[in-house]
Symmetry: C2
């Protein structure tokens, strides 16, 4: 998605450790017009897949999940970090390591919100090592629901999450695929550039 | 907002300690059609207030903030819990106690995202003791931006946040005001019922 790549190039910041900050338009400040475009494009890519629920995790997946869900006219369920849950109700849960591996979060979804009748699009803003997506997938599959696809705004191809998930057979669509991000020069290259060379 | 009150009555769950769970349509599962209606109603109430930014805090404020911001055609800025921030950039910050007073979160907004030119609508899903809103207000005012209003989906009038903020002179609009929620019977009463008696 050219428009998104331009925004990443113009407003993204490459930080030490290959962290690509998109705080100016996606996950601290949100450009709601761009958000609508992201939702429409994900909807277009998964049209006809029979999706009846969009699943994501708090926090920064929520905006994108709502943007695609309103286009698909289906509800969103966002997994909650376990410490935020006052429930005593039964939950599906997963442990998700942070991208640095230094911390781990237990995330959960109430059992009443997912079941075998569900055909799920899992959505997130950033895909790096893929641990979060794998946690979401394991909860959806524990509910005997079907994962119809994974919709991502920005995939970092220089981390292994995307290729691992594709190898597992999931349909993964990323609106921008970052091949490299140089923290010294700030230069960012996208997979789409290779295709057109 | 009658439609919202009906949903709260039909799908809300009253838990011990006066906690009103709206997990089935607002802050775990999200009904995106209802979300659009909430956004449109908040937009209607604050039309003409000159708002150029919507501010909220992760996580469950994000969906509502995006819904109203897309109607107002302005960006959203959501405050982040400090532990989620990899930045070294300067931030405005506030300490926010949980409603039970048992935990405290430091929340922050990057200084580059708020300034004296901003006319801000602060949005959140639930208003109980008001500590979160006061934290957001203090950050907006530290940035010398103007708080034009506070837009809330569900206000619990049996906790003191709403009346304190109105007494401080802020324009506070809540789409549903819950007067009482009986954890024994599950019965919920709204301020709007008194008006029509």
């Amino acid at each position: 998605m050219k428009n998104l790549e331009q925004r990443i190039r113009n407003q993204g910041v490459v930080c030490p450790g290959g962290i690509l900050q998109v705080d100016r338009f996606l996950n601290h400040q949100i450009d709601v017009a761009l958000l609508d475009e992201l939702g429409a494009e994900l909807c277009r890519r998964f049209a006809g897949a029979g999706i009846n629920k969009v699943v994501t995790v708090e926090s920064s997946g929520i905006a994108v999940a709502c943007a695609v869900a309103r286009q698909l006219r289906v509800p969103v369920v966002f997994a909650r970090k376990k410490r935020n849950i006052p429930w005593t109700a039964p939950v599906y849960q997963a442990n998700v390591e942070s991208s640095t591996g230094s911390t781990s979060n237990r995330i959960a979804i109430a059992k009443e919100l997912l079941g075998p009748e569900d055909h799920v699009l899992i959505v997130d803003d950033i895909l790096a090592n893929g641990y979060t997506l794998q946690g979401l997938i394991s909860m959806v599959e524990s509910a005997e629901a079907t994962v119809e696809g994974l919709g991502i705004v920005i995939e970092k191809a220089f981390q292994e999450g995307g290729s691992r998930l594709r190898n597992l057979g999931y349909r993964l669509e990323s609106l921008a695929i970052v091949e490299s991000a140089d923290e010294r020069t700030g230069e960012i290259h996208f997979a789409s550039e290779k295709e057109t060379m």
